[in-house]
């Protein structure tokens, strides 16, 4: 009886306690870790993966999976550079283009899965390769920057619009001047929106129902196809937002950036299963998961751990989180998760 109580507490709060413990450890061990600047740095480093992870979360909720998010983000990065540097469109049009591209990719993913019955992993894997290839074709595999020579011999005259760069680089004053970066604001807004949508609206609830027993959800009159497509569209749009932020931070269409986006955001979403013992995809958990990885990496960096240990640490955290979630909660007599 008492054991069960402890087990339940461990499942619920274990991960948060671990997080607090790590923060405390780094605060003591690494000088300058416990400062607003370093906190903001962590937030900034997780903002983009966090946004992508929230997209994956919405596909995980309907028992799907979106492998194309990383490539959607890099496509969005290249598209925004192409749009401003080569086509010389305004920031507004560029953002609109990128978002539309993300929504469209999500729509195609969703339709492939729902209408053509392609298994989700295969559909989005195919889409991933397609986009990785596609984003390189217009520039023949080169990065995009002002002043580059175009295939037809002319010189690209356009520049990244100041408004566009603002999205990625602006810092709001908070306690200290120029502290809070815009991408972090976007991340927090997206996190709250996805959290409210998945957790507190009937649409979110129906999406969880689809993830748990699709046939049963259909037989109570849920439009399963529509919700699944919606989930992939959310994922696509959020991935394109991530790409926009990346482009605005870098200020150029760098073909090599964004390599780690897919794996990092999937890791954040899966770590999210362990937060508060949810044992299911959830927005709050995903945000905390992204933060967790960010804090760990920042802490290790500040303690001068070599960069090549980072992936190992991420892997260890992921495995620990999965054990927390699946092993411990299989041992408790399961209660309803909704």
């Amino acid at each position: 009886m008492n054991n069960e109580r402890i087990l339940n507490l461990a499942i619920r709060y274990g991960f948060l306690v671990l997080l607090a413990g790590i923060v405390m450890y780094f605060s003591l061990a690494a000088e300058g870790f416990a400062s607003p600047r370093s906190a903001v740095f962590v937030l900034q480093s997780v903002a983009i993966t966090g946004i992508l992870a929230l997209g994956v979360t919405s596909t995980l909720v309907v028992d799907g999976f979106d492998l194309s998010i990383g490539s959607v983000a890099t496509s969005s990065l290249m598209l925004s550079a192409y749009s401003m540097v080569i086509l010389e469109y305004s920031a507004f049009v560029t953002v609109l283009l990128c978002l539309t591209m993300g929504a469209l990719v999500g729509l195609v993913n969703g339709l492939l899965i729902v209408k053509m019955r392609v298994p989700d992993l295969l559909a989005t894997l195919g889409m991933m390769f397609l986009l990785i290839g596609l984003q390189r074709i217009p520039t023949q595999g080169n990065s995009i920057a002002t002043g580059m020579r175009l295939p037809d011999g002319s010189i690209a005259e356009g520049t990244f619009a100041a408004e566009f760069l603002w999205i990625g680089r602006h810092r709001f004053d908070m306690f200290i001047e120029k502290l809070f970066p815009m991408p972090v604001v976007v991340f927090l807004l997206v996190a709250v929106a996805v959290w409210l949508f998945l957790g507190f609206t009937r649409h979110g609830r129906l999406m969880y129902a689809i993830g748990s027993n699709q046939r049963a959800a259909e037989l109570v009159g849920t439009n399963v196809s529509r919700y699944k497509v919606l989930a992939y569209m959310i994922s696509g749009v959020l991935a394109s937002v991530g790409g926009i932020l990346l482009a605005a931070r870098l200020g150029r269409g760098d073909i090599a950036s964004g390599n780690n986006l897919l794996l990092d955001s999937v890791a954040a979403a899966l770590i999210g299963f362990a937060v508060l013992g949810a044992a299911r995809p959830n927005a709050f958990g995903t945000a905390i998961g992204a933060l967790f990885v960010g804090i760990l990496l920042q802490g290790l960096t500040m303690m001068n751990a070599p960069y090549y240990t980072q992936d190992f640490v991420k892997g260890a955290v992921l495995v620990a989180a999965l054990v927390f979630t699946f092993y411990l909660s299989s041992r408790r007599s399961s209660a309803g998760r909704h």
Binding site: A216, E218, L219, G221, S333, S334, A335, G336, R337
Partner: protein, 504 residues
């Protein structure tokens, strides 16, 4: 005096603060069918799971063939000769594998099994096992494509092939029709004479009358009665499991009300005659017939899951052609499907969210779901139809089978609709609760037409104003539920014993 195979002494088991088994003493003898009766949530399946190694008892001991018996897991129990067919059918089969592999699974896992699978040999052996059970399906078919009854028969076939000392059957007939059940009983008879001890759990009186040698009744986790003097006192057993005598149903059939749903010349199959049916306001119609008589097919047509070959439907005078479940529900036509595990239960949700799922819109304010409204509504239904649970926050998976079924029915009673279709609504529901639910359905019947699809004639008689018999996708008979000629009804259900077409 036959020899005792298995003995249960003072077994206790709790889940959290819920004391489910409170000191059970029970013995099972060779060549005897012990029927265990008990209301939904009494703890029958929990006792079964203790016996077959899924749960371990908190207190008490088990004895098997004179030796202490402490199974560490299900495989251990089987190897010691305790074989179980679980209530939840999907525990018994692997849906993604074909029938042959499912039937032969034990051969594959047996120590000393070869590394390579000889598919041809496997299928030949599987065919033999299937034939012994009278199963006719293609052994290469995937189990996930079969319906519940076939899946259940496969689980049973596999259990019987394991040559058990103690065979436990937890509601094996809840999704079988009379003919399949009879086949099962014949096999049980054979095992009984071969000296196997059998523990049989069921809510169906017809099963119990057919095969019980003794009856043990259970109430709230304790044994409340033992009946082993012939002739068995069935009524006494029901009284002791419910704690009170069973209440009678008396039905005065509703007639002469306005029609709500009209089926005009609906053809379910290419070669079947058209069906005409009018369902009236406040009326409860029971559609009965054997498995495969077209009951579920008819329900699916009305609910928009499949299209009839020909014919039209009218709802409240207007044309009604639902394209899918969604359009049926928005027209006010609700259906509780059969086979709850595949078609109805959301395993990740608690009771309240499972129950309110179809009507989340009306439990929202603006865009936000109102948790309080959901809980209040489900709390009321829990009281109305007597769901045994700790609270509406219990995960649906922690409820007993019958109580899960009650939640699935309650789901569609939350909001008024025009037509309520209930396909095998009493699957796994105990006799007492069945009456209570029937009464609740009848009491709220005004304002809608209710059509209940049941294979058991008893269930039809308890709930309906009018009984319609289907046979081979055609209406074979129709009766107002008053002084029914039962012999005629039964004859219509089983149909002409040998149709001229077959004879010729």
């Amino acid at each position: 005096m036959s020899q005792t195979i298995c003995e249960v002494r003072g077994v206790e088991k709790s889940f959290g603060s819920n004391r489910v088994l409170r000191g059970i003493d029970l013995s099972m003898c060779a060549g005897e069918v012990t029927v265990l009766m008990g209301a939904n949530g009494a703890g029958k399946s929990t006792l079964v799971k203790v016996l077959c190694g899924v749960h371990s008892a908190d207190e008490g001991e088990l004895v098997l063939a004179g030796n202490p018996y402490t199974p560490v897991d299900a495989a251990d129990a089987i190897s010691q000769g305790v074989v179980t067919v679980h209530q939840s059918i999907d525990d018994g089969v692997i849906p993604d594998l074909d029938v042959a592999t499912n039937l032969m699974l034990d051969k594959l896992t047996a120590p000393g099994a070869g590394l390579f699978v000889n598919d041809r040999k496997l299928r030949a052996e599987a065919r033999k096992v299937a034939e012994a059970m009278g199963l006719t399906m293609n052994v290469r078919q995937l189990v996930s494509e079969l319906d519940v009854a076939d899946r259940q028969m496969i689980a049973i076939a596999r259990a019987l092939a394991r040559s058990p000392k103690l065979l436990i059957l937890d509601e094996p007939t809840s999704s079988l029709s009379a003919t399949e059940a009879e086949r099962l009983f014949a096999l049980i008879d054979r095992l009984r004479s071969a000296g196997v001890a059998i523990l049989y759990i069921s809510h169906r009186m017809s099963d119990i009358r057919r095969i019980a040698d003794r009856i043990v009744s259970m109430r709230d986790g304790s044994i409340s009665g033992l009946f082993d003097t012939q002739p068995l006192d069935y009524e006494g057993a029901v009284t002791s499991m419910l704690g009170h005598a069973m209440t009678d149903v008396d039905i005065t059939p509703e007639t002469n009300s306005a029609p709500i749903l009209c089926l005009k010349a609906i053809k379910l199959r290419e070669d079947s005659p058209p069906i005409d049916l009018v369902a009236n306001d406040g009326e409860v119609i029971a559609v009965t017939g054997l498995l495969g008589s077209g009951k579920s097919q008819l329900a699916e047509v009305i609910f928009g899951l499949s299209r009839p070959i020909a014919g039209k439907m009218k709802l409240d005078g207007g044309s009604y052609q639902p394209a899918n479940a969604k359009s049926a529900v928005s027209a006010g036509v609700f259906m509780s499907p059969k086979d709850r595990a595949s078609n109805a239960v959301i395993p990740d949700f608690d009771i309240a969210n499972n129950m309110t799922l179809p009507f989340l819109g009306s439990f929202s304010r603006y865009y936000k779901l109102s948790d309080r409204k959901q809980r209040r509504a489900s709390e009321e239904m829990i009281g109305n139809i007597g769901i045994v649970c700790q609270s509406n926050r219990d995960g649906i998976g922690t409820l007993s089978g019958g109580n899960q079924q009650k939640v699935m029915i309650a789901r569609w009673l939350l909001k008024p609709g025009r037509v309520l279709l209930l396909d095998e609504p009493f699957q796994g529901v105990d006799i007492g609760a069945r009456r209570d639910i029937g009464r609740h359905i009848r009491a709220t019947a005004k304002g809608r037409a209710t059509i209940v699809f049941v294979a058991e004639i008893d269930e039809a008689l308890e709930i309906a104003d009018r009984i319609i018999v289907l046979n081979e996708a055609a209406i074979a008979g129709e009766h107002i539920n008053q002084n029914i000629d039962l012999a005629k009804l039964v004859a219509e259900v089983s149909g002409p014993s040998l149709s001229p077409a077959l004879a010729g």
